[in-house]
Each structure stands twice: as C-alpha cells, then as structure tokens.
Amino acid sequence: MRRLSWFNVTSLTLGFAFLYLPMVILVIYSFNASKLVTVWAGFSTKWYGELIQNEAFLDAAWVTLKVAVISSTFATILGTMAAYVLVRGGRFLGRTLFSGMIYAPLVMPEVITGLSLLLLFIGIGLDRGVLTIVLAHTTFSMCYVSVVVSSRLVSFDRSLEEAALDLGSSPWEAFRLVTLPIIAPAVISGWLLAFTLSLDDLVIASFTSGPSATTLPIKIFSAVRLGVSPEINALSTIMIAIVTVGVISASLVSKRNSLRAQKDAQAAERANG
C-alpha cells in the first residue's frame, strides 16, 4: 500500500506553491488601486477599464487571435496528414528526411526558427505581416500536431481500417468514417496545442511580423521590458482565467467520459456473466 510520508506531503505542498504562487500574486495585484505595483493600495478594477480602452492592445489581441485560429487550423490539417504519412505511409523516398523535419522543429531554438524564416521571407520578397506570421506558426505547430496525432495513430488498431475497406469503403471513406472519428480527440488536442503555441509565441512572431501586424506577446514584451505595469497584470489575469476555465472544463469532460466508459464496462461485464 502506498502511503504519503511527511516528506511527500511537504514536497507536494511546496512544489505546487512554487508553481502557483507567482500567478496568484499576479492576479491579486491586478486588482491593486496603486500605480506602484508592489504597494497594496486597496481593491480596484480600474486597470481592467484602462485595458479595454487601450486600442493598441485590442488590435494586437485581435491579430493574435486571427493568427492563432488560422495557423492552428492549417497546422492541424498538415500535421494530421504528416502523422498519417509517418505512421501509415510505408516506405517512400526521403522518409528519413521527412521524419527528421517533423521532429527537428520541436527541439530547434525559437531564435533560429525565427531567424531562418525571416531570411526566407526577405529572400522571396514577401512583405512581413499577418501572412508571414501565419506561415511561420503553421510550420512549427504542425510538427507538434503531428507528434500528438501520430502517437494516437500508432496505438490505433489497423484492422478497423481494413474492416472498413473489406466492407466496401474506398480508402478515403475508411479514413473519413472510421479513422477520423476515432482519432478525433487527438486531432482536437493537437489543434488546441497549436492554438496555444501560436497565442504564446513571442520570438518567432517578433522575427516574422512587420510594422503592419503586432501580436499581443510582442506588445506585452515591449511593455514589460520597461518594468512591471498594472495594465499587464490585468491582461495576464484575463489570459490566466481563460486558460484555467478551458483546461478545467476540458478535464471535467474527459473525467465524465471515462466514468461513463467505466460504467459501460461494468454493464458489459454483467451482460457477460
């Protein structure tokens, strides 16, 4: 029987305190009335009000959201294709190069990815803006998507696809009617991952964006370089809140599903016995 020792309890408590205290403090100070971020001067929501009126931030947020939605959608399509090729493609010319190109961006320092893409865009004379950021984000996040999807495909029972073919489906129908619905959760988490990576990215976006398009991380970075600001605290709080609500509801949904599956399995057991 596993039992938590005092050491375990202490390390868990301190560990999670370390992970969460900075963010909790950030959230608390976003409601600070004082301009001086380290001195508590009473509760206020005025920084949120100022944030909403800050057009530059709103514009940047809009650009970021647009880029994230478009690039993660493309990344999901391309990444799923790439995963399918990696797992099911069999042998083809340059397979090693292909899998290398899928895995390399995962470990490539962002500064290098950003620099290399920028040099490409200049080389082919592409004006930097939303389009170039989308291209850059699609490229690196499709690799993450393909890793997520291919790990699902590897454990996928191939005879399900064969059964679909055997029952008269064309290969495309087999993919659409059988494979895709079953791997859908992995594809969706791939999309979410790509979306978050795009929302988060500062370095690659800095290299590939132009004066016409500034993303939120770029805006935040240039603001916080000068020091802590209460407006950024408020913005951070909003972002943390969105993520927290999202992740918690996603995990509740998955918990409900696994509970249901457990119940079903028990019911099947009874039907069997």
Partner: protein, 292 residues
C-alpha cells in the same frame, strides 16, 4: 495511389520550403560577406549556385572566435543550462515522487495541476517573477518583514533570477516524464527490496532511482535543450551580466543588424545542440524498444 502521393507531397513540400530551405539560407548567409550584407546580405537568391559557392568564406566564423563575447556567451549558456537542469531535477523529482505515491483518485487532479501552467502564456509566467524578485518586490518585503535581511537583496537582473525563471517555467517538463516512470513502477519491487533487508532509504536509492532513470534522462533533456537557446528569460530576468547565446543572437540581429554574424551564431548554436538532441533521440528510441 494518386491520393497517397498527394498525402505525402503536401506536408513534405511545406516542410521543405518553410523549414529546410530557410535553414539552408541561414547556413549560406553565415558564410557570406559582412560588408555587403547590411541589409540585405550580399548575394540574393537569384545568383546561381556557382556564384554562390564562389563567394563563401568563413570570415564570420573567424570573427566569432576573435571576439570573446561569443565564446563567453556560448560557455555561459552551457553553464546556465546545465545548472538549471540540475536545479529543476532537484525541485522536480520530489514533486513527481509525491505525485506517484499520492492516492489513485488524486493523481489526475495533480497531473492537471502540473499541466495547467504549461497552457498559460510563457511570457506571463516569466513576467510574474519580475514583480516578486525586484528590489522592492514581494520576496524582499517578505524577507525584511521576517527580519532576515535589512537591505533588499538584488535578485532581479542577475543570473540567479535566470535560474529561478528557468526552473519555474520548465518544471512541468521535468515532472511529467519522471512521474510517468514512477507511476509505472511496481510497488512490490520496493517491498521485495525491504523484504530482502534494505531500509526504506536504501530501497529508494537501489530500486526507485535506477528504475526512474529513463524519466530523469528524458526530463533533463527536455529542460536542457530549450534552456540553451532561451531568449525571453534572460532578457526579462537577467541583467547585463547574464550572457546567453539566444539573447546575443537576438541583439546581433535586431540591434546591430548584422545578419551574417547572427546566422553564424545560429549555426554554431545548432552544432552545439546536435549532440544533446541525438543523445535524447537515442534515449527515447531505446525506451520505446524496451517497451515493446
């Protein structure tokens, strides 16, 4: 058959055009002439391959060896990455161990709590420490209130702050693989060790640690590799004394606008990274084979 070809070609071409080609451009520019290269670099893409090859020189790399800024930046990046990997392991292992020993029904929640920060903006998580570590920040206020110190400690804009930042942001990467390894560990192994005469502590060192080795290795690489090329953490938390190669590259590019040198810095950074990446791949492969 046509469909299969299309399926392979689309992502393949995409990666060739937007990953491999840019990369070759970096390589090429790192070998081109600085004088002509501000901006844009001297030969454009339209010059033929021969012209391109004829113009190659190693001037930029020679420059990197002459200016000791670059050497120091590489070495200090390596040092910071190694030390912060070890620190992350020391902080992360007890947490992963505690999670693995927690009651079954808590574990999904604990897992979620570790993953949650990962979904939160990296930039914001680093930024959160700026308010805490500054001279009049909460940490100093707290220590002064406790009476431990009289004058505020200077932490922000030092290498110490960079360590804290790296440990904090990459901690989930360390915890998850170690937890996965510990979670698979059969409890009866420790009981067998104790049955055979080990103390609790000995059983931990002789059984638990060796069997979680793969998790430790995977976690260490997952922290070390991104830490080496890190830019955001040193530029927000580090000071002028904190040299890290990612930051040098950025400054070379955006501030000095010296693209060939920036490219040469990138090429060298990659060469340094190749070794840990290959080692990491091999470790993952070995693990995958062992599982089969």
């Amino acid at each position: 058959m046509m469909r299969r070809a299309a399926l392979i070609t689309v992502p393949y071409l995409w990666l060739l055009l937007l990953f491999l080609v840019p990369f070759l451009i970096v390589f090429k520019i790192s070998l081109s002439d600085t004088a002509l290269a501000i901006p844009p670099y001297a030969p454009t893409m339209r010059d033929g391959l021969f012209a391109l090859l004829a113009e190659l020189d190693f001037e930029n790399f020679v420059f990197l060896t002459e200016d000791d800024l670059y050497w120091k930046a590489y070495l200090s990046s390596l040092k910071i990455a190694v030390i912060s990997t070890v620190l992350t392991l020391l902080v992360g292992y007890p947490i992963a161990y505690g999670m693995a020993r927690a009651p079954e029904e808590w574990r999904p929640t604990l897992m979620m709590l570790v993953i949650l920060p990962f979904w939160t903006s990296f930039l914001i998580r680093v930024y959160a420490w700026m308010g805490i570590l500054s001279n009049e920040g909460l940490l100093n206020q707290f220590l002064q209130w406790l009476g431990l110190i009289n004058d505020p400690l200077t932490i922000l804009n030092t290498t110490t702050a960079v360590y804290i930042g790296i440990v904090y942001t990459y901690l989930p990467f360390m915890i998850l693989p170690i937890y996965a390894a510990l979670d698979r560990l059969d409890d009866s192994l420790n009981e067998a060790a104790e049955d055979l005469g080990c103390s609790r502590m000995q059983a931990f060192w002789l059984v638990t640690i060796p069997l979680s080795k793969n998790g430790i290795i995977a976690g260490s690489f997952l922290v070390f590799i991104p830490a080496l090329g890190e830019f955001v953490i040193p530029s927000l938390l580090g000071g002028s004394g904190t040299l890290m190669i990612g930051k040098v590259l950025w400054e070379e590019f955006f501030n000095n606008r010296d693209w060939p040198v920036a490219s040469a810095v990138a090429v060298i950074l990659l060469l340094i990274l190749v070794i840990p990446i290959v080692l990491f791949q091999r470790n993952q492969q070995k693990q995958a084979e062992a599982e089969q």
